[in-house]
């Protein structure tokens, strides 16, 4: 499928696990969704290619004899009572996409938000979707649903007009009611849908409402199901219960890459109600309750043979070595670099000052507060799994592969999930629960422990970045050579206007399992680039803001830089003693960002090394522009959250490992930002109604680390080039 392949290329560089192609051979069986709906009207949006093959079909007939496209992007159902249900393969993991997509549907259909319900991430009910990642929901799914809703609106108006015996152009929809010009004739949505059983294929050329005319979108609608969360009623996967359900527990290898020598499960098997499941290297138990499952798993004696494996100390040397095997062969640009421009040699020759520096980033963990969880249930040969995942269809493929069963025998349902941040793309827990359930012949729930989540999930890639540059004394950057080893190519491209540049991503063999993370390598690449830019500004005695503006022509980037600087008061006042100001800017996934940070150097807290000082981020101003804003409230919330999360990776988060073991797999030893790390945050939204909306869950994370590193330099004269910057505090001589 061409469209998906090009999307895959676009994001491949940050999606390590997608190197193994997912199964795209999706053909939606019409009978499935005809069955799924009762009476009412279904509007479906065929994928672009499918429509081309069936041009001329347009609006289809009644009675279920019509041909339907195999590839469908979206559909909407108007049920008999006038309620609207929209279906999308996207999932909700805290980014509030359920709310913003609901707003888009309501906006286009002219119905109240609370009459729209979204069915998300259910492989039997929703259209195929690659997954909820890469900030794609807002730019791609919202327009699809809008198309379905816009076409539905027009077709419903035509049907209502027929019922009311007026001209369609005399009708409009206001708050789910059809009205003619003098309101003498009205009809509700329910009255149009009642008694019908229709499937309509919408035309692809339907126009959608432009941001300047939005009424529901563009407003700060509250989280649609907030009440369920504040009352504890929402059922996450880990809260689910099924009739006869048992609890599972997996016996983990002693280290990564360990091989199984022997298993003795006699003691566990003797426990009441316990069943032990061994299958190759898979060892698990099921029991009537969680305690019994844990006790039984602990009673299994396993002998593992572990190979010697690297430690943190060797990491960056290892990452400089080229990848071998599947990850190899990508050295020239590695899929994320670009063709070199100009000549680095010439650029350096033209420079008054030259600079060469290395920057590093550590592995970090997503640590979603809801660990991986799954409930698996077999009914005959049909498997249903509820699980918290960002890729329901990807998890279905994993299950299909693991159990050698066809697609239509697996259903994956994703209840709104306790966060992901790019960390829940894989289906390990779903596969494990399904294996246990198959053996037990009963539904099984498996919830990973915090330690398992820290150890057996995957990490944001560590990386090494080398930069060589040249600058003239007037502040013109003349050369930019940039090599990223392992961390990835997201956000590697520059918006600085540098005639001679050579930017490359080099894959490596990662000693730890790695994958997506909010913004992924854009954080590493922005940290290195924006730190280095700061160093160049300092080298030619220019103000860091002025230096950036001198070298950036892109208006959207200049706008956010100036907006952030203005709100922060950049250049207006000097930081007080022991404080520092830093600035950084960037671009990624359609979003433009500028971040100003104020830090303070404080005495160590009781828990930290007494010889070192504590760095606190006390104030952050971030300006962000992602086209037309769909929901200012939730956008601000996302940006504030990204800044807060970024503080962890910037200051102290780092996975420690040795010989195939994670040394800090607990919140007590892996520090994440808490209330007392949280700064005063001011968000400046630049709303561009003239530009299509981009996603916003990721890019707001990238500016914080370099802004903080630059602020530390401003306060102390110490230049820190490794993330995390101050895991043990700051040594100031």
């Amino acid at each position: 499928m061409i469209e998906e392949q090009s999307l895959l290329d676009e994001i491949e560089s940050e999606r390590y696990e997608l190197l193994e192609s997912p199964n795209y051979n999706f053909h939606f069986a019409r009978r499935d969704f005809i069955k799924a709906f009762g009476l009412g009207i279904v509007f479906i949006v065929p994928a672009a290619r499918a429509l081309a093959q069936q041009s001329g079909q347009g609006e289809s007939g009644r009675g279920g004899n019509e041909r339907l496209p195999n590839d469908i992007d979206a559909w909407i159902h108007i049920n008999e009572d006038g309620g609207v249900t929209a279906f999308t393969g996207k999932v909700e993991v805290g980014q509030n996409t359920r709310t913003t997509l609901t707003q888009s549907v309501a906006d286009e259909l002219h119905v109240p938000i609370d009459s729209v319900h979204l069915v998300m991430g259910d492989t039997d009910l929703t259209p195929f979707d690659m997954g909820t990642f890469g900030s794609r929901s807002t730019p791609t799914m919202a327009p699809q649903l809008r198309k379905a809703a816009a076409a539905a609106r027009e077709m419903l108006i035509a049907m209502a007009a027929e019922q009311l015996q007026v001209e369609p152009k005399d009708l409009r929809i206001v708050d789910a009611r059809f009205l003619n010009h003098d309101k003498s004739k009205t009809l509700t949505l329910a009255e149009v849908a009642k008694g019908r059983k229709l499937v309509k294929v919408i035309p692809d050329d339907i126009a959608i409402t432009q941001p300047k005319d939005w009424t529901v979108a563009g407003t700060s609608a509250a989280k649609v199901d907030a009440k369920n969360y504040v009352t504890g009623k929402h059922r996450y996967t880990s809260d689910m219960k099924r009739e006869g359900m048992l609890y599972g527990k997996i016996v983990r290898p002693a280290t990564f890459n360990a091989t199984l020598v022997s298993v003795d499960a006699k003691a566990a098997e003797a426990m009441p109600g316990v069943k032990v499941v061994t299958d190759g290297t898979f060892i698990g138990v099921v029991a009537p309750d969680q305690q019994a499952a844990t006790k039984a798993a602990n009673a299994i004696a396993v002998d593992w043979k572990s190979p010697g494996q690297p430690t943190n100390a060797e990491l960056f040397d290892l990452l400089r070595k080229p990848a071998t095997g599947q990850r190899g062969g990508g050295g020239e640009g590695g899929g994320g670099g670009s063709r070199p421009q100009g000549s680095i040699t010439d650029g350096l020759a033209a420079a008054d000052k030259k600079l060469e520096q290395t920057y590093t980033v550590a592995y970090i963990a997503h640590a979603p507060l809801e660990p991986r969880a799954a409930v698996a249930e077999w009914n005959g040969d049909k498997l249903t799994v509820w699980t918290g995942s960002q890729r329901p269809f990807g998890v279905r493929s994993e299950l299909v592969e693991a159990f050698h069963i066809p697609d239509d025998k697996v259903r994956v349902i994703v209840p709104d999930t306790g966060s992901g941040y790019g960390g829940k793309h894989t289906g390990e827990c779903a596969v494990e629960a399904a294996r246990l359930a198959k053996a037990a012949g009963k539904p099984v729930k498996l919830v990973w422990t915090r330690e398992e989540e820290f150890t057996w999930a995957y990490f944001r890639p560590a990386g090494v970045i080398d930069i060589k540059s040249g600058v003239k004394n007037d502040g013109t950057i003349t050369a930019w050579e940039f090599h990223n080893y392992n961390s990835g190519a997201s956000g590697i491209q520059i918006k600085y206007d540098i005639p001679n540049n050579d930017i490359r991503f080099h894959p490596s063999n990662s000693p730890l399992r790695q994958g997506s993370y909010r913004g992924l390598a854009a954080t590493a690449n922005h940290f290195a680039r924006e730190s280095h830019i700061d160093e160049l500004a300092h080298a030619v005695n220019m103000d860091p803001l002025e230096f950036r503006l001198k070298n950036i022509k892109d208006d959207r980037l200049r706008d956010v830089l100036q907006a952030a600087a203005k709100s922060f008061g950049w250049g207006k006042a000097k930081p007080e003693r022991g404080h520092g100001f830093g600035i950084a800017c960037g671009f990624e996934k359609g979003g433009y960002i500028a971040t100003c940070a104020e830090i303070s150097i404080e005495p160590p807290s009781d828990k930290e090394d007494k010889t070192n000082k504590r760095v606190r981020v006390i104030r952050v101003v971030e300006a962000f522009e992602c086209g037309a804003v769909v929901n200012p409230l939730h956008l601000r919330n996302q940006i504030e959250g990204a800044i807060t999360m970024a503080i962890g990776g910037a200051l102290f988060e780092s996975i420690q490992f040795e010989n195939g073991k994670i040394l800090n797999p607990h919140f007590a030893s892996y520090r994440v930002p808490r209330f007392n790390d949280s700064p005063q945050i001011e968000v400046v939204l630049v709303d561009r109604k003239d530009i299509p909306s981009a996603g916003a869950g990721e890019t707001p994370i990238v500016g914080l680390a370099p802004a903080v590193a630059n602020a530390i330099f401003n306060a102390t004269g110490v230049r820190l080039r490794a993330l995390p910057l101050v895991p043990k505090g700051l040594t100031v001589s």
Binding site: A222, A226, D289, L369, S419
Partner: protein
């Protein structure tokens, strides 16, 4: 092993049949199907499992159910009254003080204990009182806002 046969939860006496050493969190979630209290770490480090024992904020994941027997246990499910939300629940919605909301129950229960000790906490009081609760989505400033709203202290900072 000693058994626990009844618990006072949200004003009701409920029958259970569990070993006294099992965690209160497991009993609430698995035996009583009160799943509003969450498992986040199992080590008392994140606060997602917070409930009140005789009004005191308690990490139910590291509390043996035997220690809760005979005490008044309040969980998130017991906070609203006759369908009317508790002021903290209202305030969390108003301040948009959640994203994935997995931490929200624990946050609200910890905040409720904080407000019963200190009805008008300032921002510093809230930060130190709530520091044991993790919101990985990073909505801390909004949670501080929500607690201030719930305590009748809506300030200009709440307009974020």
């Amino acid at each position: 092993m000693a058994k626990v046969t009844s618990l006072n939860v949200n004003g009701k006496k409920l029958a259970v049949d569990v070993d006294s050493t099992v965690s209160l969190l497991a009993v609430l979630r698995n035996d009583l199907d009160l799943t509003g209290s969450k498992y986040g770490c199992g080590e008392g480090q994140c606060g997602a499992c917070t409930v009140l024992l005789d009004g005191v904020a308690t990490r139910s994941c590291i509390t043996q159910v035997g220690r809760a027997a005979g005490k008044q246990i309040t969980t998130i499910e017991g906070l609203d009254r006759d369908g009317k939300l508790h002021p903290l629940q209202e305030a969390f919605i108003k301040a948009d003080a959640m994203q994935c909301a997995y931490c929200t129950s624990g946050m609200i229960m910890s905040a409720s204990a904080l407000l019963s000790k200190n009805p008008k906490p300032n921002r510093e009081d809230i930060i130190s009182g709530m520091n044991g609760n993790i919101c990985r989505c990073g909505t801390y400033q909004r949670i501080v806002d929500a607690i201030q709203i719930a305590s009748g202290q809506a300030t200009k900072e709440v307009t974020r």
